[in-house]
Symmetry: C2
Subunit: 337 residues, 2 copies
């Protein structure tokens, strides 16, 4: 059996309460006592039992991060950013993947028994939409990430999507490109990354007086490299001419960029490319990929901070807040003049 408070107390010649006080940095302890306890802890190699602590105090010191899929570099990097930010604040992070399932299984993850083991949840919404916002009115402190739910019952942290997409499109326009593909649209979507990014694309075209042409909008359900590659093959086969691509994430851009070059076209000469997310891979692709930096570290930092505030606030709660980061253009080779 492992060492308990009692063992430490016995060795230090105090009660378990005093040991507990020392561990929890209770201020009013005589220095001599504290030293004695600390020494006892050290010699015994005592480690608090987190389960017992959690059971008694109701707090676990852990938060949960619910994301679609770790194989997606954006989310792996987000997980790392959240962990870094949480560790700085003394919190542990449990990562939960929901896969690309349906709404029901996504909710099951959110409400599952594991969520009892955490003080709060960071939830990157995938399947749920605005109409499901009321389902998120749960007792556990919750902060939303992603772009599916706005004006929900709790805090929300994401990037200014439309602005990002507008910057991206304007960048291609500034290079003189006029036949710009929007890659990654979701039909009829208004809210959600795809919908918001498409609207930013349109804004930029409108502002530049370039007519919007539906045949340049390419719908793609999921946003993996494979999807980008397949969509680009179809587009090339269709014969629609284009000289620029705004892809709604980097993976799509990378998949599509490969296919374009495979077809003998030159990037950026024949087709300029820009993505979203600024994943590490974009610094090493051939050519390197211009992209929109969503400020992931800032997102992670604000989200963790707000979640902590919600945890501290308790049942009293906090009125929903929204933080939108300002995206930044990262120019690389795929849009060289």
């Amino acid at each position: 059996m492992s060492i308990t408070l009692h063992d430490v107390a016995k060795l230090a010649g105090v009660s378990i309460k005093t040991v507990s006080n020392v561990i929890n940095d209770y201020p009013h302890i005589r220095p001599a006592t504290r030293t004695r306890v600390l020494e006892a802890i050290d010699t015994l190699g005592y480690r608090p039992n987190l389960q017992a602590r959690g059971l008694r105090s109701g707090r676990t010191g852990a938060i949960s991060l619910i994301i679609p899929d770790l194989r997606n570099a954006y989310f792996a990097e987000l997980a790392d950013a959240v962990m870094t930010s949480a560790h700085e604040r003394g919190l542990y992070v449990l990562i939960e993947q929901m896969g690309s399932g349906d709404k029901a299984s996504e909710l099951a993850v959110l409400l599952g028994p594991r969520m009892q083991m955490v003080d709060g949840i960071l939830y990157s919404v995938l399947e749920l939409g605005q109409e499901d916002a009321h389902l998120l009115d749960i007792p556990t402190p919750l902060v939303l990430l992603g772009d599916r739910i706005f004006d929900g019952p709790t805090d929300h942290v994401t990037m200014q999507n439309a602005a990002g997409s507008r910057i991206a499109t304007e960048h291609l326009l500034s290079l003189g490109r006029r036949n710009i593909v929007a890659l990654g649209a979701h039909e009829n979507e208004v809210i959600g990354s795809a919908g918001l990014r498409l609207s930013g694309y349109r804004e930029a075209l409108d502002a530049a007086g370039v007519p919007f042409r539906p045949e340049l909008v390419v719908n793609v359900g999921t946003w993996h490299r494979l999807d980008g590659a397949q969509a680009m093959r179809a587009l090339l086969a269709s014969g629609v001419p284009f000289d620029g691509v705004v892809a709604f994430n980097d993976a799509l851009a990378l998949g599509a960029m490969r296919v374009v070059q495979e077809a003998g076209l030159s990037v950026p000469r024949d087709v300029a490319f820009i993505g979203f997310d600024d994943i590490d891979e974009t610094r090493y692709s051939l050519p390197t990929l211009t992209t929109i930096d969503p400020r992931q570290a800032e997102i992670a930092d604000v989200a963790v901070g707000w979640l902590l505030e919600r945890i501290a606030a308790g049942p009293a709660g906090i009125a929903p807040r929204e933080h939108l980061t300002t995206p930044r253009l990262v120019q690389r080779e795929s849009t060289l003049p």
Copy 2:
């Protein structure tokens, strides 16, 4: 406050023990009672408190996966594979990143209080070496991944590294390449992925009667895209001629391949490339990257299975075992004849 066993018991008109029995699938329960209890659970929305269960039973239903870094695609994919395998067996996975720290902090993670919250640990060794094997003789069930420690005090699951590297090198030799770079070596390393892969490279050269030339061995400390790119720039600047590259992981290969092409060389015509790991990105790079598939799913599956056996065995323990997967060549464009 949340719903407890007592609430369920009261509603179902039974004792809490009976409810507990139903939840834990205790066999001898009258079907009528079981139904009644199940209904009560359902109407109340009861969820067992995992902390209390863990405290009482000593088991948590979770295992921990300790990896260097989620930003590394190999480990992100490994984490996913382990989670999948663990979930199938009803286990939850806590991911712990150790970063690229020193031995001390790596050990701190391994022995830290969080490790109390899990029934067992899957540990992908990074800094520790053979000489530290005795430190791993800890009470918590442990299974080792990676190539730093062999013949340790517990189970070990990895790939046949030397064989994989030999296959890779033989593949380049079979294309007629004779000036093959080994990219990613660690000076003086014998055990460890780098050491083992270098020895497989030498074996292949020896078997083919091709002389080993030290100037073709490129040392690289860490194995990210950036490292591969930098090393390749230096190699090109050095003027040493080469027509093939065996990179010790895919990230190195991708970084280096980009630089080679940037320099105006053609892949695979001028330089053929092969990597290790078979990460998803290798299917979409330009050109797609030939690589060695380490059988990650098998590694994850065996590791989780063995860990479960160790957990089940309890203090009695199990004699250390070793499972080495058989790597597989995945040929893609970077080594087309």
